[in-house]
Symmetry: none
Subunit: 185 residues, 4 copies
Amino acid sequence: MTTAPGRPRDRRIDRAVLAATAELLVEVGYADLTIAAVAERARTTKPAIYRRWRSKAHLVHEAAFPTDAERVQVPSTGALDTDLRAMVRACVDVFAHPVARAAVPGLIAEFAADPTLHAALVERLADGPLGTARERLAGAPVDPGSVIEAMAGTTLLALLFRGDGELDDDWIDTTTTLLLKGIAP
Amino acid sequence: MTTAPGRPRDRRIDRAVLAATAELLVEVGYADLTIAAVAERARTTKPAIYRRWRSKAHLVHEAAFPTDAERVQVPSTGALDTDLRAMVRACVDVFAHPVARAAVPGLIAEFAADPTLHAALVERLADGPLGTARERLAGAPVDPGSVIEAMAGTTLLALLFRGDGELDDDWIDTTTTLLLKGIAP
Amino acid sequence: MTTAPGRPRDRRIDRAVLAATAELLVEVGYADLTIAAVAERARTTKPAIYRRWRSKAHLVHEAAFPTDAERVQVPSTGALDTDLRAMVRACVDVFAHPVARAAVPGLIAEFAADPTLHAALVERLADGPLGTARERLAGAPVDPGSVIEAMAGTTLLALLFRGDGELDDDWIDTTTTLLLKGIAP
Amino acid sequence: MTTAPGRPRDRRIDRAVLAATAELLVEVGYADLTIAAVAERARTTKPAIYRRWRSKAHLVHEAAFPTDAERVQVPSTGALDTDLRAMVRACVDVFAHPVARAAVPGLIAEFAADPTLHAALVERLADGPLGTARERLAGAPVDPGSVIEAMAGTTLLALLFRGDGELDDDWIDTTTTLLLKGIAP
DNA sequence: GGGTAATCGAGACGGTACGTCACGTCTTTTT
DNA sequence: AAAAAGACGTGACGTACCGTCTCGATTACCC
């Protein structure tokens, strides 16, 4: 095992930059977020950030969907209806989080033109709740991908066109019911 | 009836700009679309464009979803299954159109921060196929809004994460079936 | 004798524009004076102004040195010393007037590149105090042009590099004395 | 002794921009001189220029009156008449230089409205021939400022209203004589 | 313990596009 | 033909960020 030569990176900078990014996303939104502002907030410099992330989008997607987050637990009861409701709730929880909410529209725009970002985000989500959902749905009588597409897509559209408060228990009920009947044999 | 004072706007410029925008969207994408390039392509100038549209996003949303387009006809047979399939197809047709496809991710990013754009797009879509769908679903035993949210959301997500060719008849079948069962009493 | 065909010009517009120009010159200075602002202040329009003056400079030079002004009277006593002092005072009065003061630097810049303006201003001044001075100096034992050049040049430089209040009686005394001895045989 | 942090400015850019400015001033004149054209000629960019000079006027005044120019030598013979003639000649040389000639009218217009430019130009000239003149005139029986005002003012007006060739030895003789007698006790 | 190498803060670099402003002209209806 | 109104093409403005680079100064590992 070898060690990289030269001065090692300061991990505190990684954390400070991600934290600053999350804060600024909520404060000013994705479009008005500048690397320079992040650097200033994190008390570091632009080159230090560009050494770690290749673009604003890569930085933001890591700040919005941290892997070390307390894993969104999707309890499994074995019953499809309760499990599915838990999945929908987890989906909403992840995407409606203030930081994610500020980040998602911008990320959507960017990965239309950046395949590496596209891949990075897909992988990051597959490691999270969507991956869990895929496992849980393995036994269902339909293609898990279609259900996830419907679930995530419906959530995304609601997120974009509805206010925060509208994605409440009622909305989760309605959506779960629709999906559940759709799945039924 | 009175006439507005002063020199009237040249409507040919409106048309030329919208056409140039649509072309350039497909050629270079939303992010790399500049007003200056649109002006040059349309053989006019930046101020003439800014006189008509308050931002790139407002211009693009009009270019991507023209109201004077040959209205997407959603034939009504009276039978819910065939009608719903027609709606899904119309939805795909609208959003998968090359111009719309290039515009949508960028628009999503912008109207997260621009309420006026949000309102403009909602109204524009409500006048189109989504409004038609809302009417057709009026008699169904569920909330039309929920169905439209699921239909459009699923289509949007598929559009973002799948290739063009994947939104074929099979995909429409699968999605229609899922929604149909979800609607069923 | 014939009359021009068509609607005759409204002379009130000429006056209103000149008055507005004088006001705005003092308020915002030459550089920030726009034809549009003059038009608005004079309650008319840009084309009406362009019909009368070929450029901002031509308009300003007429506003700053009106021919119909109460002619600066330079009393002649027949004695060179008192006459010269009166000329210096008249020169200061003309160029230190608030409107002229605001106009002169800008005009200087413009007629470096506009021969027609150059000629117009020379003629306008020759009809005024400088022409009078030239007549009075006809009998002096030196070239009148040189004296006028020295007198006007000294005044101009003082105007540019000194405050308004500094061109007082003392300054006029000092300058008159210098010129007077310079003229002496 | 400390060094300023960050990447140091490239002094070659300073020189290239000043040279380009001088060239373009002569070619197109002050009014038609654009920062963009200077940037292109100097093979750099607008922001790099704005980093160094706050406006076109500040740039031009430095290009027109370089401090590092071979200092205009005003030989001192100890005799007032020959010294004064040398001063007048130096004054003409400085202001009649093609670059200065192109710059002066524009600068006059601008520093009427920009105190910082006013101060900068006064200081720049005081470090040059006008400062030298002030020292030489210290022993004369009149206020040096008045003489300089008359000398520079007369030169300036001649420059503005006469052709280049007219400021020849004869003009210098005439002007020197007038000033000399004016100074005499 | 000196050399090597990548990091750090700082800020200038070349570059691109921005959205605005004023210009002077033109087109319309009305007088 | 002039008036008021306002859009027109033109061209420059000064600014904002981009992502990279050049500094001098650290901070580690390696020999």
